[in-house]
């Protein structure tokens, strides 16, 4: 009798344990694959942040822009008026092309510049819950396509609204620092 009870208890305990497994999710605070952090500055000034006006950023071949404002509805969610944006790089290619459109909600005053970023990718193990992350290094070697190309011209000249692009750091390892500065 007591043996049966003991065996029953054991079976239940084992059940309890196995039900506890697989409970971890990747925490938001864990640094994983970073986005490219771009800050906008006033043309001719080294340190004056300048917010953009209704900027829309659309990846090459993509229908919709990057969502900057998830709470908004319709076209407004793709627009930003901030001085800082985070844009994802392509995980399956060493290059990504984006169209940056200023005043995107206005058919007359809108201006578009295309920026291509060239980089190399490296994978790093993070944890059981998060798996691997991808880190990027913007190209900085002769012979490779340059880190950024503005409107398919190299070396870059001023674009339709962008006056100058400057690479702050070639290593894109986290989202805590600014990687690219755009002056306009």
């Amino acid at each position: 009798m007591k043996k049966i009870a003991a065996i029953l208890a054991m079976v239940l305990l084992v059940n309890g344990f196995s039900a506890c497994e697989k409970d971890d999710i990747c925490a938001d605070t864990t640094p994983t694959t970073p986005r490219l952090i771009i800050e906008f500055y006033l043309k001719g000034s080294a340190a004056t942040l300048k917010p953009v006006t209704n900027l829309k950023v659309v990846g090459d071949g993509m229908e919709n822009g990057i969502v900057f404002n998830p709470t908004a509805t319709g076209e407004a969610q793709y627009l930003t008026n901030d001085s800082k944006v985070a844009i994802p790089l392509d995980l399956s290619k060493d290059t990504v092309a984006y169209d940056f459109t200023l005043n995107a909600n206005d058919t007359i005053t809108n201006r578009t510049d295309r920026l291509v970023f060239n980089y190399t990718r490296n994978q790093f193990y993070v944890s059981r819950a998060c798996g691997y992350k991808m880190l990027f290094t913007l190209n900085n070697l002769p012979g490779l396509p340059s880190a950024y190309i503005l409107n398919n011209t190299q070396p870059a000249v001023a674009g339709n609204w962008i006056s100058r692009v400057s690479v702050q750091t070639y290593n894109i390892n986290n989202e805590d620092e600014t990687h690219i500065k755009i002056y306009f």
């Binding site: 054991m10 193990y125 944890s127 998060c130």
Partner: protein, 245 residues
Amino acid sequence: MKRTLKFTFSICLLLAAFLVNAQGEQKKDSVAPPKISRYGLRVGIDLFKLSRSFYEKDYKGLEIVGDYRLTKSYYLAGEIGNENKTVKDDHLDFTTKGTYFKAGFNYNTYENWLDMENVIYVGLRYGVSTFSQTLNSYQIYNANPYFAEPPAIQSAEKFSGLSAQWVEFVAGVNAKVFNNIYVGFSFRINKLVANKKPSGFDNLYIPGFNRTYDGDFGVGFNYTVSYFIPLYKTKSAVANNKVKK
């Protein structure tokens, strides 16, 4: 909540099992013949690992357990085993294969009456495992998907020559069911003391240690059937048996 209930219920059942056991003892009279203690080697197999190998297609394991009675209460104890486990997580799919060996002692806390030969023990082990890991496939974690997500990367990269060492705290029971056959189970709490990790991956499962968590701790369980090979006997004075309540 449901799990907590289940757990509480299990604990109650366990306690009940022991209580029933205790009651059984009291019926015994104290007019006892000299107590004969048998010493010998007990070898067994872990049925938990064996049965899992049948019903879980991502798992294969075998564990042989053994203990040797040194003194009245101390047993030299150990386990040797082999495991092959595939884990399929959301972002990782890997297979760990390897062999382990654990050695240590058990201390029997149970005062047996007459010819009873049950063991309720606590013990310590030192475990060593050598293993390899194969990363079958993995996914790049991307918190901000915009472009089409790349499919899981089929890797098949093998990390060999891995090893780990740990200390294990054991608590368990071995009950004689008939003649020299024992059934038992034990719970284990493990703490890693050495862990040789591969570069670019982690030891997420260690044979013998089981799943690793963020810290150094792990848990284990086994359910054994053993056979006792008696080697020699000792007689102890009758008086010894009567004192304890």
